[in-house]
Subunit: 349 residues, 2 copies
């Protein structure tokens, strides 16, 4: 696999091919280790090849999502720490398709960069490979474009994931009913959303540096708190969708727009959800941002996940089983709300 | 479909959602018209859904590719002309998977931009939708991220395509043999490669403006010649792979690296190819660049396609039939080389 990635998929007229290849060599092993048996490797290859395993799916539905890391990259550049953003983009993508019940199959990245450099490049790719390994997702290829005029000293990181789900196991939210319980699963911080507001408050308004240690963060630096990688919820989702004790009727990945905007994406029109804001701890980075920025609480829940990175909607009598699965997988999870008759709205009490 | 694109897939914390939605409304119809029956549209959706049609494929192999437009975007910005770059990215992606025999199924885009603005945004999306319509490929979703700190007044455009091919109809190049004929299909200019060198010579060295009309271009401006959209070869490929008169044993999409780098990607190790550089006309934009930049001919063929955007390798007795198919589809195509015993090398005579 790594040969194909090196010689064919990671190629572009705009990139210093020799440097790219020598840096790729350092992470070749990691990228190769994500290979899955469904991957085909002919001698050449302009695209990546992945055979669908029809012994596992009768009516396979592909689920694909494309995302960027956004201005979290700016924080990575401030701290010259590039080993986490690969996890961010992979985990964000995995969550986005896992909420529909899909198993991640393969991932591809795009790096647009002013000047290819070490260790940035190999650290980003190593993070991608490690995050893919953790969920059994193959790195099928990628594209790197060196464009000094466009990116200057910056770079952008884009990821695309393709997964598959059996059609009758698609999770759409349509079966969410009044009486259902909302299970919240904890986030570890901002994940990859709300960085424009967070940076404005912490760096511009407060004048913090990335290595500042405000008392509220209890010894952790601002940079460390902001860069915590996006949590990947796939282990718990995978266990739950295979469990006969739990039927998840809807899942929402809480990204930009927070609970207010993401939950309605799967909510039937005749239901509302009431969330309890005290159900899960609010990570101290959010407390710092809200306090220093004097951010209104509704605004905060509209921009940030505020400690809830994912919500599952479950028949009430299965909530305990669902919470057990999450905890068995190492996640902090709890009841955080309930579904009522309504009109597709979210309230946070 | 357009509802999902508007409300779910084209969303990001970093983007002015209201502006994005009002601009999207202008191209809603075009995007909706790319819908394919395999697309599923549940009420919500964090990822796009596409069901594989198993009545058409026994052993479906997915073929995926990710690409950027590169610094051709800089020329689009110089001329404030944004209706062609969507065609560039779609057609580049389509060609990259079509050369392996894959039918394009769906496309997704990523736009990273300093400040979302009109008509840039809707013109880019309209170009994407139009180019997808032309090859029957669905626009399954996309992501737009507004990042003023990173992009300033610039933007980047990334595309991802997913296609499918029956496993035993994969075209890999493995069957290319000495005696095979290379068919060249004409390009209309740079496509999406070599822009760093082209811009340096034309704009920096020669001091041309985008609206300059050098004699060699016979009335066409430099901007117009550079922005000609990447040719999409799918109509000819689709016709050829379904024809019983022609068996294509290998196809190379001539992108960055030219004939020298792209043909060896599919060439068996024990073969060489000799190309005849006079087989197809060299578009005048290349003549201008080579002349004004005093570019060495080998260098030129290493950076640019020099008039050959795609090469097919065909058993010699089927070459006439293959050329007929190309011409029937409106392409200028001709014999441009032959396969010899060798060691995976390309010579251009």
């Amino acid at each position: 696999m790594s040969k194909e990635i090196k010689s064919n998929l990671y190629r572009d007229a705009g990139v210093d091919i020799d440097l790219a290849q020598s840096l790729l060599k350092k992470v070749k092993q990691k990228i190769s280790s994500t290979k899955r048996p469904e991957m085909l490797t002919p001698i050449g290859g302009f695209g990546g090849l992945f055979q669908i395993d029809l012994s596992k799916y009768r009516e396979p539905v592909l689920v694909s999502s494309i995302d960027g890391v956004g201005t979290k990259l700016t924080v990575a550049m401030m701290t010259e720490k590039f080993d986490t953003v690969g996890h961010d983009i992979v985990n964000h993508c995995v969550n986005d398709i896992a909420v529909q019940g899909a198993e991640p199959l393969y991932f591809m990245d795009y790096i647009g960069i002013g000047k290819l450099r070490s260790p940035l490049y190999e650290h980003v790719l190593a993070g991608i490979a490690d995050a893919c390994s953790e969920v059994g997702c193959a790195v099928l290829g990628g594209e790197t474009a060196e464009m000094p005029g466009m990116y200057g000293n910056d770079f952008d990181l884009v990821g695309v994931i393709t997964g598959v789900v059996e059609k009758n196991r698609l999770i759409t939210g349509e079966k969410i009913k009044p009486g259902h319980t909302a299970i919240g699963i904890a986030s570890n911080g901002l994940h990859t959303n709300g960085f424009s507001l967070a940076r404005k408050i912490l760096f511009e308004k407060c004048g913090y540096q990335a290595n500042s240690r405000p008392a509220l963060l209890e010894g952790v630096t601002v940079g460390e708190a902001l860069l915590r990688p996006h949590t990947c919820y796939w282990p718990a989702i995978n266990k739950a969708v295979q469990s006969s004790d739990v039927r998840i009727d809807g899942m929402a990945h809480i990204t930009g727009g927070g609970l207010y905007d993401n939950v309605p994406r799967i909510l039937p029109a005749e239901t509302d959800v009431e969330f309890n804001r005290d159900a899960l701890p609010v990570p101290s980075i959010f407390k710092l941002i809200v306090e220093k920025g004097e951010v209104d609480v509704v605004e905060a829940y509209r921009v940030f996940n505020m400690g809830i990175g994912m919500v599952w909607f479950i028949p009430a009598d299965q909530a305990d089983a669902a919470i057990s699965i999450c905890r068995d997988c190492g996640f902090n999870a709890t009841r955080c709300g309930r579904v009522l008759h309504g009109s597709g709205k979210v309230r946070i009490l």
